[in-house]
């Protein structure tokens, strides 16, 4: 900038000093908080908001980041996960962003965090009323793949007329004998609005029902915010004769032996060898620390099996 003969107020200052606390200016945060309040008042309704352009790309969590930036304070402790893990690259990147622009505490312990930003998972560890879960949303409109027009979708929600989705699910059953949607499985919130739970596996859907913590959803590119207030009824769509079911595994976690968590499949060689491990890295680490042992623990443990806090907290 000096070469260009330009001396801005920001020259020579660190990023933390050059930007407002948590990056966004206070007016923007207030605007977003107003939208959040509206979203909480009408559970599952998508509130349009003046989404800002963030220094991270669209589709990489800009909605969640804006929600987190608007609600976080200097005393908060933030946990960021992607696919359930604290050490996935984008989770590391977002955690670094907040450590840099807000200078707040970060953690990988679900129970210690006051705000948890997540992509594609809800933590296995139960959450409390004094915590907030912020979900990153790629496509807020659950009807979008059936009806690409925004104008039409607004009408569908206005009339609560979701027959199209029921027909889609019914067609699945007619064709395959079961509903083949495995993630981003549509839910009815507060018996009024059909909502995308974000691409969490349907395994996580039941956790949303009467969840003690506030759940906030931010879609940056699509410029929508929605919310599920604590203890709200959240029902996954189904039929009386085809009740909603979640995924199950024949295996348990190879590292901690958990039989109740979502398992990721890891390919171990090119001859069909594989293992299953908890997608929630903190849950798995906590169980192992408590002495739970899976069938492969102690063997030549893979790189990701290291305790998560070796890397996650440094920034």
């Amino acid at each position: 900038m000096t070469e260009a003969g330009r001396s801005t107020a920001t020259a020579g200052r660190s990023v933390g000093e050059a930007y407002n606390f948590a990056y966004l200016d206070e007016q923007t945060k207030r605007m977003i908080r107003r939208c959040i309040l509206k979203a909480v008042a009408v559970p599952g309704y998508q509130v349009p908001f003046g989404s800002r352009e963030m220094p991270l790309p669209y589709g990489w969590g800009t909605g969640g980041i804006q929600v987190t930036a608007s609600i976080i304070g200097p005393d908060d402790t933030l946990k960021v996960i992607d696919q359930g893990a604290d050490d996935t690259t984008n989770a590391v990147s977002i955690r670094r962003f907040f450590a840099r622009v807000a200078g707040i505490e970060t953690t990988d312990r679900t129970a210690e965090a006051t705000v948890i930003q997540t992509r594609h998972r809800i933590p296995e560890h139960p959450m409390r009323e004094d915590q907030i879960l912020v979900l990153q949303v790629p496509k807020p409109e659950p009807m979008r793949y059936l009806e690409p027009r925004e104008l039409e979708c607004r009408k569908i929600h206005g009339f609560s007329e979701y027959g199209l989705m029921h027909v889609q699910l019914y067609e699945d059953i007619a064709k395959f004998g079961e509903i083949t949607t495995t993630y981003d499985y549509p839910v009815m919130v507060n018996r009024r609005h059909l909502m995308s739970p974000t691409p969490i596996p349907k395994f996580d859907n039941p956790k949303m029902h009467r969840f003690p913590a506030l759940q906030l959803f931010g879609a940056g590119r699509e410029k929508r915010i929605y919310a599920i207030p604590p203890y709200t009824e959240v029902k996954s769509l189904d039929f009386d004769d085809h009740p909603f079911e979640v995924q199950t595994w024949d295996e348990c976690c190879a590292l901690c032996g958990a039989e109740d968590s979502f398992l990721d499949e890891v390919i171990t060689d090119d001859e069909g060898g594989k293992m299953f491990v908890c997608s929630d890295s903190h849950y798995c680490g906590e169980r192992r620390a408590a002495g739970h042992v899976g069938p492969m623990e102690g063997e030549d443990a893979p790189s990701f099996a290291r305790p998560a806090d070796q890397e996650a907290d440094g920034s």
């Binding site: 900038m1 260009a4 800009t62 696919q83 996935t88 594609h120 395959f176």
Partner: protein, 365 residues
């Protein structure tokens, strides 16, 4: 042993260092200066300013340097900076009729008041590589100047037609109404003219070029004529609340394109020409023309034509024109999707088991 695609802090930092090294290239070669980019890659700077939505050649040049010449990445950098700036008001509409013209051409009239002014243009160059440019020149090229400046009075072609009533009336917006700003308020449908034009001005040049081209090839034909393209400097005026009258705060270079399109008329409206409008920062002629074609195509419903083609589809065009949004979402597919993929994997395996079982059953019968 399989190494999971999970990266820690260290890997990310290393990647950034490597990126910085690649950006600099061979240290034997002298480093590219911001002023060099600003002065010699002006059209790249202009595009980045236009789609980056901020008029600042220095910052645009910086973004281009930092992005290693990737213009969409540079646009992203500039947008992310712009979003943090305070807004202290909206300027008066710029008056392109009072432009200090560098270039002005019309394809609709052979001659017109003020004449045709080619200005700096690739138009009639032969696209032959100029091998002299392989060497740095001893002296800078200098173009001969005309003995007298261009005509002060250079009316816009659309205004000339307007005085005859042959073109639709350009109704000015209600001055009291606050102009829409997509960077503060999300798109709403049906989109108003201000939303549409802002979206197109920020929109990706390549996307608009292809859409504009598609209208010419029959996917929403509207018989366009290049009514006028003009490029030059215009004054930017702001009315501070405490003053109550406009003051000039600076000058910007813009390119404006007014397309003139045929319209056969209907029961209420006599046959007349209709308008398509394009405006960019700097000299972005291709973009301004494409924008004008798409603007006119998007007015099809308003003009009583049945929208049937992609360029006429408001939601399709306006939702997909922004390259920062598009680039981010397309590239988010690089992010891990283990959990969703695992869910799908299970489902496909189960469906296949059922399929195999059915086949076995059929074979047994």
């Amino acid at each position: 042993m399989y190494v999971a695609v999970k990266g820690g802090e260290k890997a990310i930092l290393n990647s950034h260092e490597l990126l910085a090294e690649r950006r600099r290239g061979d240290p034997e070669v002298s480093e590219l200066g911001i002023r060099q980019i600003k002065e010699q890659l002006t059209l790249a700077v202009d595009r980045v300013m236009t789609e980056g939505s901020i008029y600042d050649p220095d910052l645009a040049a910086l973004a281009i340097k930092q992005a290693r010449g990737d213009l969409v990445e540079a646009i992203f950098l500039l947008r992310a900076y712009r979003t943090t700036l305070a807004r202290f008001g909206a300027t008066e509409p710029i008056d392109t009729a009072r432009m200090a013209v560098q270039r002005r051409i019309s394809a609709a009239f052979k001659d017109l008041p003020g004449g045709q002014v080619l200005g700096p243009s690739f138009d009639y160059t032969h696209r032959l590589l100029d091998f002299d440019l392989m060497q740095e020149a001893e002296t800078a090229p200098e173009a001969e100047r005309a003995p007298k400046p261009v005509d002060d009075d250079m009316p816009r072609v659309a205004d000339i037609l307007d005085s005859e009533g042959l073109i639709e009336i350009d109704e000015p917006d209600d001055e009291e109404r606050e102009v829409a700003d997509l960077t503060r308020q999300p798109l709403t449908f049906p989109a108003e003219r201000d939303q549409r034009l802002q979206n197109l001005a920020r929109g990706d040049e390549g996307f608009l070029l292809a859409l504009g081209y598609s209208t010419q090839r029959g996917y929403g034909r509207n018989h366009p004529f290049g009514g006028e393209i003009r490029m030059g400097e215009v004054a930017v005026e702001l009315t501070p609340e405490e003053l109550g009258f406009p003051i000039e705060i600076g000058e910007i270079t813009v390119t404006e394109c007014q397309m003139i399109n045929q319209f056969k008329g209907n029961e209420d409206t006599p046959p007349q020409f209709t308008r398509g409008y394009g405006l960019t920062f700097g000299h972005c002629e291709r973009k301004a023309m494409a924008m004008a074609l798409v603007d006119r195509a998007l007015r099809s419903a308003e003009l009583g034509e049945t929208p049937a083609f992609p360029a006429q589809d408001e939601e399709f065009v306006l939702y997909h024109a922004d390259n920062v949004e598009a680039s981010g979402f397309v590239q988010h597919l690089k992010l891990p999707h283990y959990v969703d993929f695992q869910s799908e994997l299970q489902m496909v395996r189960r469906l296949r088991e059922q399929f195999e079982a059915r086949k076995r059953g059929e074979a047994a019968e």
